[in-house]
Symmetry: C2
């Protein structure tokens, strides 16, 4: 197969082995959280894996396609170890790296071929008959060596549906371990993804797992991953900070944020969330980028509350305006005071933190004064404290 | 209504007026692009507005709730003018700003109240009977002044469905111009959004528009906006770079990226896409953040291609690995050479750019050499060119 990528993957040490992956399908209706979490699995999605998913971490394969990425061997090992400690299920890497990393050979091989008319014409130039025939030969060879094998189409969402289903059924029948779909150009939307995965699920054997790979060009990489899990996929490709070709793929941290809402217990038990920030820092430094200001979970404003109406309620009960708990990730909540959006409740809370005894009237006076001042410039915490002290004195 | 926000909006000069907004519902089956764009409107979504949406730009309201945001009057005017030139339909701002900006009064008023049990208990403490009664009073008053009025629930996705539908029907019956739903904590996923909007659409009059506001805590703000439009909403709240409370809301540029795929013609005709980068630069500078490396459309790697297999096809036909065209936004494509992922096709292309006449064998030799060198460090364009010259000489 002329243009297949030579990628491979290794099972992370804390990940489950294939046998358990295949054994863990839960009978319909018995999933945890199905009834007591309104943001979890929907009762009608009896094939849903939102509470039963695995992560294929591809920072060392897709991530190396990011413009800035160049990992030397030491950095690759550092990243792989961190991801392993975090608890991802598989680590995808280039075949050469896999050879280096695992002396005894890789655990599995990915076979990827572009199936859209675009890729068939401009990339490898092969027709569907050739693709199917060659895929079957390669899969049979790999399986004869006792190695796990995945078959994935590339640019699946711009491929002809009949061609696509036809080749998936063929490779499924000869015993491929899992099949992958890839939104290579980032064009897919969640309802399309749900429909394609549901359809695919219906034509392959129940023991064949579905893996999904989503690019983020049009902002749906996380939502598409979630829709795929709802439809019965069980493996999602991620990379740290989403780095990859163009603006990248489903980010590890963003997927974790989404899945925490769907099944907090599953995520907390499986992944070491306190390590997320460190892994992101390692990769950001290695590829010479800043963590985006609005990054999921670890962006510096992810748990910052500013508007007065929000701050008041957050102080009374954080769940009011937070669906994620900062402490789950070793992060801190920050309620912003010193802007014209400041409410007197956050002033009172800040005064209490400073151990100043102010009554409600005093707090409201200070709030009014701050709102006036903050129209001119933002107040720092220090100048805010000074202001409170001056008002108390005079 | 004790805790409603005092927000308002002004129609952008290039935006359509309410009369035309109400008149533009297209009969089922006649939408443009319905049959010829596989990523556009789905035939079964006969209420879809993916080819007929409007943007409510909220950088001056939601955006000011971003941790770093403090806009003085001059900056507000600069931002508002840029957004107007870009072509957004409405600009949402704080009531005080609206008073300053529009001497003759605002075009519309937003009435927002938290309807989830969290907000009812910890924010304003009102019950649903009180909320409904007060909402009706306020709406009647505003309407009597001849001003457009929107009613929105806050934290809609954690509100009781029966309560929610009940209050929407009440405000619809007394003639509210539009209703809004808000995922205030960023917990919603696209299929939930689709279902809620479809249900809401069924209980309000066909002339009442639906506006949606999505936070991005769990990475679905763009996908949720798209699902809402598919279900029949027609107005989406955005902010520049997505700035807002916590990690923000649907970003203007990200929504544009998504909608370009659904209906390029509509987006190109309506919005001045060449201005997107400037608006983002103005806001990024004003709030003192870097444009994220992976930002939609304008991030520096959004149109960068690195892997050899990608680069070859991109050079033959950019659509192979690009769903968006960089030139539509005044951006450039960059095919990366000088890494160990480099293929000989991109070396050949670079050599042609440099007006060096190399045959295929020479290009393959150079590629091999580059792959070796690039294992040690990334090659700059300059050192790459030097290498090619040295090889030609020797």
């Amino acid at each position: 197969m002329a243009s297949r990528r030579n990628d491979a993957y290794v099972k992370a040490s804390s990940g489950t082995c294939l046998a358990s992956l295949l054994a863990n399908s839960v009978p319909p209706g018995t999933q945890r959280n199905m009834r007591n979490n309104p943001y979890g699995q929907r009762p009608e999605d009896f094939l849903s894996n939102v509470g039963n998913f695995k992560i294929i971490e591809s920072t060392l394969r897709e991530g190396e396609q990011f413009a800035n990425a160049f990992f030397d061997t030491a950095k690759k090992i550092e990243i792989a170890k961190s991801l392993d400690e975090f608890g991802v299920d598989y680590i995808e890497c280039h075949m050469d790296d896999a050879r280096l990393a695992v002396e005894t050979g890789v655990d599995g091989v990915d076979i990827v071929i572009g199936t859209s008319s675009f890729l068939r014409e401009y990339s490898h130039g092969k027709d569907m008959t050739y693709i199917t025939k060659t895929a079957i030969e390669v899969i049979k060879f790999v399986k004869s060596k006792g190695i796990e094998v995945r078959f994935s189409s590339e640019d699946s969402f711009r491929s002809d549906l009949v061609d696509l289903l036809s080749i998936y059924r063929s490779v499924d029948q000869i015993g491929v371990d899992r099949v992958g779909i890839a939104d290579t150009v980032g064009c897919a939307n969640p309802r399309q993804v749900y429909d394609l995965v549901r359809t695919l699920k219906g034509i392959i054997s129940s023991s064949t797992e579905i893996e999904c790979h989503f690019h983020n060009d049009t902002g749906c990489a996380i939502a598409n991953a979630y829709a795929a899990l709802e439809a019965g996929a069980s493996l999602i490709d991620t990379s740290v900070l989403g780095i990859g070709e163009r603006n990248g793929i489903t980010p590890l941290g963003g997927l974790i944020a989404r899945m925490m809402v769907a099944d907090r217990e599953y995520v907390m038990n499986k992944y070491d969330l306190l390590k997320l920030r460190d892994i992101e820092n390692i990769v950001a430094e290695a590829v010479n980028v800043q963590i985006p200001f609005n990054n999921y979970i670890t962006g510096y404003c992810a748990f910052t509350h500013k508007a007065g109406i929000h701050a008041k309620a957050i102080l009374a009960n954080p769940s009011t305006y937070e669906i994620l708990k900062p402490e789950d990730f070793g992060m801190s909540r920050y309620v912003h005071v010193g802007s014209r959006l400041t409410g007197w409740n956050s002033i009172k809370s800040r005064a209490d933190q400073l151990k100043l005894s102010l009554d409600d009237m005093q707090c409201k006076d200070i709030t009014k004064k701050i709102k006036g001042l903050a129209d001119i410039r933002e107040l720092t915490m220090a100048s805010f404290s000074l202001l409170v002290l001056l008002m108390l004195l005079g």
